[in-house]
């Protein structure tokens, strides 16, 4: 087995820079907000150093961007990295806080050699503007040590790897404090000198953990790793150094996230029709926007248009600190074809979905409806509305002779008839039903012309009242 370790020396900084796009001085401070954990090159050129107190850093660089990082935040960012790496390697292990381990021995044949694997990863890292130090090793711990010390080489030769490890100073080998002091007191300075000691002697003089660690680096003790499983849903977050007050400012980071989504969907060969966008504010409750498309979709530009429309409709309630986008619903993609059996080309289908999505995004989901008939005698229940969808069911044809005439307009509810009609035409048609669901209807329907010239569908109910129920429009 051959392991590749990616060490991200300043992962959080890279992450923040990707969401913000500008390159002003920026530091990451630890949870309590006391010490600088990571500093970007711009901040370092101003004199800010890692480990410095925050107060000192601020006095050196007054307009310093400050991000407070906690463990949860770090592990989430790390998982984001695992997600894209999963497209290239199957066996991934998360090594918090800032490392990823991938088994690459099995990938060599797929990519055509170790050199190709190495090159692919370097290209991807460059494309994502991520700083990572890769390292290869025959054991996970060896790969980790090599990567963390920036000694990564593209080689699968075990002897070379051991030689690199042996030349490593003891300080870099990350022993615990007590073991390191004792090793130094014996007079050892390099890791190779530790390797040459017999294990029995090491076991007698040092703690069992230290021996275990040394053997894991060498590969003489098994070091099982449990693989990471990618989550079923898509989630991407963007955090901002400065609060964003205008929705226009959100479109830039959103575009990047949506491109990621498009890649993800292309890679999965799936589509989606529902995005959840959550905007987090400093004080108030987060704003949750559900963006729906009327049909399966994967293109970033379409999603961005819909989100832009939503922002026009609903201005921001408060400045946005961070946002995240989740997609939980994935639909299998249909194979694109020329024309289907109904003479429907992909283009019109797509144009239909685009139009409906646009309208729904602005007017709301309930503003658009389609009509269907229902098998019921009662006029107000003989129809119903459904949400818009593309169908070709071809409604069951009702032959003209079987159904008595019905008006094209139905009123929202029966309207009292205020004047006697000018002429009566046909009737009565008795409609009686609804005893089964307590919505009793017992009416005699007539067609009559009112004095205004309108043809009305009027009825008399069981109490003898006269009502207009529809117009023959």
């Amino acid at each position: 087995m051959l392991w590749l370790y990616l060490h991200f020396p300043h992962l959080l900084l890279d992450h923040i820079h990707r969401s913000n796009g500008n390159s002003s001085a920026l530091v990451i401070v630890e949870g309590s907000g006391q010490k600088v954990m990571q500093a970007c090159p711009a901040a370092r050129s101003l004199g800010v150093a890692v480990g410095m107190r925050l107060k000192t850093a601020i006095s050196l660089a007054p307009d310093l961007g400050i991000i407070r990082a906690d463990q949860q935040y770090e592990s989430r960012v790390l998982e984001d990295q695992a997600r894209w790496l999963y497209r290239y390697a199957a066996y991934i292990v998360l090594v918090p806080p800032d490392g990823l381990l991938a088994e690459v021995g099995s990938l060599q044949r797929l990519y055509g050699g170790l050199q190709a694997v190495w090159q692919t990863l370097e290209d991807v890292l460059h494309e994502r503007q991520l700083t990572a130090w890769p390292g290869l090793g025959h054991t996970p711990q060896a790969a980790r040590l090599i990567a963390r010390n920036g000694k990564g080489e593209c080689t699968s030769d075990k002897d070379t790897i051991l030689r690199v490890l042996a030349a490593m100073p003891l300080l870099a080998a990350e022993f615990d404090q007590r073991t390191r002091t004792r090793l130094q007191r014996i007079g050892l300075t390099r890791l190779g000198e530790v390797f040459s000691l017999p294990p029995a002697e090491l076991a007698r003089r040092f703690s069992p953990d230290a021996l275990k660690y040394i053997q894991k680096i060498q590969g003489t003790r098994p070091d099982p790793q449990s693989p990471w499983q990618p989550p079923q849903h898509f989630r991407q977050q963007a955090d901002f150094v400065q609060d964003i007050e205008h929705s226009q400012g959100l479109l830039f980071p959103l575009q990047r996230i949506l491109c990621e989504l498009e890649n993800e969907l292309c890679w999965r060969q799936q589509d989606t029709d529902c995005l959840l966008l959550v905007l987090q504010h400093r004080q108030t409750e987060p704003t949750r926007l559900r963006i729906r498309t009327s049909g399966p979709e994967h293109r970033a530009s379409t999603f961005l248009n819909l989100i832009g429309l939503r922002f026009e409709q609903e201005p921001l309630q408060a400045p946005v600190v961070s946002l995240y986008l989740t997609v939980k619903r994935f639909l299998d993609r249909e194979a694109p074809g020329g024309q289907d059996l109904l003479g429907e080309s992909q283009d019109t289908n797509e144009a239909w979905h685009t139009l409906m999505s646009r309208l729904q995004a602005r007017l709301g989901d309930t503003a658009l409806v389609q009509l269907t008939t229902r098998a019921d005698h009662r006029p107000e229940r003989a129809w119903s509305t459904t949400g818009v969808r593309r169908t070709h069911s071809g409604n069951a044809r009702v032959t003209t002779s079987q159904v008595p005439p019905r008006p094209l307009w139905l009123l929202q509810g029966p309207h009292p008839l205020s004047e006697p009609p000018a002429a009566w035409f046909s009737g009565p048609e008795r409609i009686s039903g609804g005893w089964w669901d307590d919505q009793r209807v017992h009416r005699d329907y007539y067609i009559a012309q009112l004095n205004s010239g309108q043809l009305a569908w009027v009825f008399r109910d069981a109490q003898g009242g006269w009502f207009i129920h529809g117009w023959f429009g």
């Binding site: 094209l408 307009w409 008795r430 010239g453 043809l455 429009g473």
Partner: protein, 229 residues
């Protein structure tokens, strides 16, 4: 004639009433022979606005459009109903052999949404017909819709109140609708392209209620002792 007038005439910037030019407008026939004749064989213009001006619903105004709705819905084109005053009754539409899958009803809250929706529907290639019931439209807004209609090649019919008849409108076809005494529809052409307006005709619409013109009214007379319970 002055020289200035001569140039204007030669540039054809002044329209002259006596030289009739046939329009090359694309149109959908109305399927009512009498009305088609009055409109010079054209019918509902495509890629332009049409206006129907009427006082009250229920005089046969939808029946006038039913042949068009049938054709579009069966051809797989979407028919939009934008802010209809009442519910388009699905059983009646199904009875007219209209494919309900193609009917889309839209309700908008305010006028901006209304205009925006109408514009979007007009510009889309999936649309066949848009029927819209606007509240109040300024001439500027009708103009905006006319431009949107020109961008697509759909039929767009606006139903407006009859008092707007005096209002100037850029619509390509304006019809005034009134009921006649035979349950029919009196159509008066207020404006049309390519010729003088002023034609009128009467369309028999009694079949919309299943009535035949000749038969006398067939209402069974009461008293209904049993029904009043």
């Amino acid at each position: 004639m002055s020289e200035l007038l001569e140039t204007l005439l030669q540039d054809a910037r002044v329209w002259q009433g006596h030289t009739h030019k046939r329009t090359t407008q694309v149109a959908e026939p109305t399927s009512y022979q009498a009305l088609d004749n009055q409109l010079g064989g054209l019918g509902w213009p495509r890629g332009a606005l049409s206006e129907c001006l009427l006082d009250t619903p229920g005089i046969g105004e939808l029946q006038l459009l039913i042949p068009l709705i049938q054709r579009f819905s069966q051809a797989g084109k979407t028919v939009f109903w934008l802010n209809p005053p009442h519910i388009p009754y699905a059983p009646a539409l199904a009875r007219e052999n209209v494919s309900l899958d193609q009917m889309v009803l839209i309700h908008t809250e305010d006028k901006n949404d209304f205009l925006w929706t109408l514009e979007n529907c007009l510009r889309s290639p999936v649309t066949g017909l848009v029927m819209a019931w606007p509240e109040e439209l300024a001439a500027r807004e009708v103009r905006r819709l006319q431009l949107a209609a020109e961008a697509g090649s759909n039929v767009c019919v606006l139903f407006r109140e009859r008092r707007h008849i005096r209002q100037n409108s850029p619509a390509a076809l304006r019809l005034e609708l009134e009921p006649d005494d035979q349950q029919g529809l009196k159509v008066k052409v207020v404006k049309r392209r390519g010729s003088w307006p002023g034609q009128h005709c009467s369309l028999a619409m009694a079949h919309r209620a299943g009535l035949l013109q000749q038969t006398p009214a067939c209402v069974l007379q009461g008293p209904w002792s049993g029904s009043a319970r």
